[in-house]
């Protein structure tokens, strides 16, 4: 496990983030997704969930949680712990030491019975994961986004949800899951970040005592497989009981975070749809009054760009037409001086701002781990400043529309 320390006196807390990544695959996605749900139920020292959570309350309400997501072709589990710096409270223990110990135990010394996870926890968390997967449809904006990506990537592991597959859950029991967990720990790339008023010299010995990890885990992430868009974009229409239509579009980019062309792609996305001054907001919302939201999002690790908007169902063709005009406009080099300036100023602001959030600084640095780059906020900013309109046009020509997804109502259904 690599340990990264970002020393700072800016915050009233220590923030810990642990990234655990393995290649996305059909056979492992569900057990890996289920694992952190089970780990948060109890540890060897705090085997009952109530005692586990009481311990967190006792550590001044330390914020413990985890996320599951996809980065490039990897499935990442991120565990987080945010705890008060002792200087603000009258604590009888070193809170940083206790935090590292707690996180280490949560990952490497879970509550066990008969040499494997507790059955009661595994069964309960199977239900929780199943319900989480089912609940994606409750949020139509997220549902449409997930469905669009799944349609676009239907021949790649990236189609899978980071939460795994519902149909795999019944086949997992406490013993099988525990075996998968051990394999996962032995084969995943592990990075621990600590941000706060501390140093590498202080953190490393604490980590060595707290984490009992098998030796020999890989130390690098492989670059993602870049695919070309379909020669003719596919259109997928899905019907549900909704009032508002959700128009989502999936596009493929020609470069990723690790490439020298990435800053041009960032500027491209800014001009297209990342901001309220972007072409999508101005033309779909402000000029045509078709939508409340119309934006684009760049996934630089996988090489995808997505567009999303909520519209009146009968306005599908019109909205799609306006969005395609914006894509074509940038490819034709229609980029104003103001668009370039505003986009660069906004990107510069984002890159500077992230210094004020411990978790954002950590995530930014972790991008370097994922992509084998050595960018700092300042160096990426300098790269962004140097991007020319010609480079943006070049980046635009490498972005190809692949999938048009429309979630609509059931009226007139044949």
């Amino acid at each position: 496990m690599r340990v990264h320390v970002l020393p700072t006196e800016r915050f009233k807390t220590y923030a810990l983030s642990l990234f655990i990544g393995i290649p996305l695959s059909e056979s492992r996605v569900t057990p890996v997704a289920l694992t952190p749900f089970v780990l948060r139920r109890g540890t060897a020292s705090y085997p009952e969930t109530i005692s586990f959570r009481e311990r967190l309350d006792h550590l001044y309400g330390a914020g413990f949680g985890f996320d599951l997501y996809k980065r490039g072709d990897y499935q990442i589990v991120q565990m987080r712990l945010d705890i008060i710096n002792d200087r603000f409270v009258s604590s009888d223990e070193s809170l940083l030491k206790e935090a590292i110990r707690f996180l280490g135990e949560a990952l490497t010394a879970p509550a066990l019975e008969d040499g494997h996870f507790r059955t009661r926890y595994v069964e309960a968390e199977k239900t929780t994961v199943e319900r989480r997967i089912e609940a994606i449809v409750n949020d139509k904006i997220r549902y449409a986004a997930e469905r669009c990506v799944a349609e676009m990537c239907k021949d790649e592991p990236y189609r899978l949800l980071a939460l795994g597959r519902k149909e795999d859950l019944p086949g997992l029991d406490a013993a099988k899951l525990h075996k998968q967990y051990e394999e996962w720990l032995g084969s995943a790339v592990l990075d621990l970040y600590v941000s706060g008023d501390t140093s590498l010299a202080e953190v490393v010995p604490l980590v060595e005592n707290a984490f009992r990890l098998p030796a020999g885990s890989p130390d690098r992430y492989a670059p993602p497989e870049l695919r070309k868009p379909r020669s003719e974009p596919q259109t997928v229409v899905e019907r549900l009981e909704v009032g508002q239509g959700k128009l989502n579009m999936g596009l493929r980019t020609a470069s990723t975070y690790g490439d020298a062309h990435y800053p041009a792609l960032l500027v491209y996305n800014g001009i297209l749809g990342a901001f309220p001054h972007s072409k999508l907001f101005i033309n779909v919302r402000e000029k045509a009054s078709l939508a409340y939201y119309a934006s684009s999002r760049l996934d630089g690790h996988k090489g995808l760009l997505t567009i999303q908007s909520g519209i009146e169902i009968e306005n599908f063709e019109r909205a799609l037409g306006i969005i395609r005009e914006q894509l074509a406009a940038i490819q034709a080099g229609q980029i104003s001086v103001e668009e370039m300036e505003r986009t660069k100023a906004m990107l510069a602001n984002q890159l500077r701002e992230l210094q004020d959030s411990a978790y954002e600084r950590i995530s930014f640095d972790f991008n370097n781990v994922l992509s084998a780059t050595e960018r700092t906020g300042e160096s990426l900013l300098a790269e962004v400043e140097a991007v020319t309109p010609e480079q943006v046009t070049e980046a635009a020509r490498g972005v190809g529309l692949d999938t048009i997804y429309f979630l609509r109502d059931r009226k007139g259904e044949g």
Partner: protein, 430 residues
């Protein structure tokens, strides 16, 4: 101008009231690269009946405060977002029940961005054409929320609790009420509620407080405002009873969503007593329903709740209610169990040890919140408008007793004032 020091928190706040009545707060955060600013008017969706000094009483269409918020961003020379973008600032705004907040965050050109914030909010520009154009956008915003099951179940609870008080009216209004809004109405509301004496400016981040205050003073000195009298706000009589004990709706959801809560007397409206009541209620709810409570674990083990289960306490001018719930396979079983737990706790009392642990947890959460400029600006202003001081919260927690929490519990959890809102998946839905 006064400087307030909070040595335990290692925070220093500069406070000033300008000649035109604007209240200014500046909190320097050494080492921070970003500055975050909010410009807040005491005007939200509940202020739909009012009388400005020297004018007739008015009843305005639902959703007008929110409409006004949208329209402020348009200036004769174009969209304000573009100007903020040129200055590297990310701007936004939102409308709640009792406030409208305009904000930006920036890492450079901070003084110019503060000027832009003050200038655009203090320069209304409404035309028949730009007001008409906005209606399509807002109707899409309303439609987006109508498809949002979490919003629907939450608002369903407020509709079940309140018959007359305008808190039960959707903040954005309805498509019809939005279509009835004219530029004249917007100007009327603007003149009433956007006078500097009804507003506060909060700036937090890597700023020089004195220089910033001078800049703000100079900006305000360039503008003239008619003297403003007090604003009278009228709220209809609201009975202590809930409007309906149960409200159900159908939307495509995977599991029913269920939120219930107790309606109570609005209680003290401002000052330390109001803040104290809010914090004791929240602590009490956390002790009973938080993730480390035996009740939570029991409900989770019985498969009646998921990680979505939560609780909150909401108060404002003339209303106060709790909201408890989340996704559940069986709303009635959940309601019965939680109702029973409240009754039992009211009888036996919350234990001292549970109270202590919960208090410790909440103090920690409060201190963690102080890392976030956005949260500080939002919460400080909210406390201030309620007549309290966000930076005295730790002392307030330290002065609480378990007896006080138990008294709050008995007062709040009156089963005759409980209502529930449920959203279920209909036939043929997901």
């Amino acid at each position: 101008m006064t400087v307030r020091n909070y040595p335990k928190l290692q925070e220093t706040l500069l406070v000033a009231k300008l000649d035109n009545g604007l209240e200014v707060f500046i909190l320097p955060k050494p080492g921070f690269t970003k500055t975050y600013a909010t410009f807040t008017t005491r005007y939200g969706s509940v202020d739909n009946r009012f009388r400005a000094a020297g004018h007739e009483e008015r009843r305005v269409p639902d959703g007008i405060a929110h409409f006004l918020e949208h329209k402020m961003f348009e200036e004769p020379e174009g969209d304000v977002f573009a100007r903020f973008a040129s200055q590297g600032a990310s701007a936004n705004a939102f409308t709640s029940f009792d406030r409208t907040v305009y904000l930006f965050s920036a890492t450079g050109a901070v003084e110019a961005n503060v000027d832009t914030l003050l200038d655009f909010v203090q320069n209304p520009y409404f035309t028949d054409e730009n007001v008409e154009k906005e209606k399509g956008i807002i109707v899409q915003e309303i439609n987006m929320y109508r498809d949002n099951a979490d919003w629907r179940v939450y608002f369903g609870l407020i509709e079940a609790l309140y018959r007359n008080h305008p808190v039960h009216i959707d903040i954005a209004g309805t498509p019809d009420s939005v279509r009835s809004i004219t530029k004249e109405m917007l100007y009327d509301c603007y003149r009433t509620f956007y006078h500097p004496s009804n507003m506060t400016l909060f700036i937090v981040g890597g700023v020089d407080a004195d220089a910033m205050l001078e800049r703000i003073k100079a900006n305000q000195a360039r503008k003239t405002f008619e003297p403003a009298g007090p604003i009278e706000r009228f709220f209809p009589e609201e009975s202590a009873e809930v409007r309906t004990p149960r409200k159900e709706a159908t939307l495509p959801v995977s599991l029913p969503k269920c939120i219930f809560g107790y309606k109570e007397e609005p209680g003290p409206q401002s000052g330390d007593a109001a803040i104290r009541r809010e914090l004791t209620t929240k602590l009490m709810l956390d002790a009973l329903l938080g993730a480390s409570s035996p009740l939570y674990q029991e409900l989770y083990d019985d498969n009646l709740i998921s990680d979505s289960f939560g609780h909150e306490y909401n108060t404002g001018p003339g209303y106060a209610f709790s909201a408890i719930g989340g996704d559940t396979r069986d709303p009635d079983a959940l309601l019965a169990k939680v109702g029973q737990a409240f009754a039992q706790a009211a009888e036996r009392g919350i234990e001292e040890a549970v109270f202590e642990r919960t208090r410790r947890k909440r103090i920690g959460a409060y201190l963690r919140m102080l890392n976030s400029p956005e949260a500080i600006a939002g919460e400080y202003t909210r406390y201030y408008l309620k007549g309290g001081d966000l930076f005295k919260v730790v002392e307030l927690y330290e002065s609480m007793t378990v007896g006080e929490i138990n008294e709050r519990l008995r007062e709040h959890a009156d089963p005759s004032r409980l209502a529930v809102s449920i959203v279920r998946g209909g036939e043929g839905s997901a």
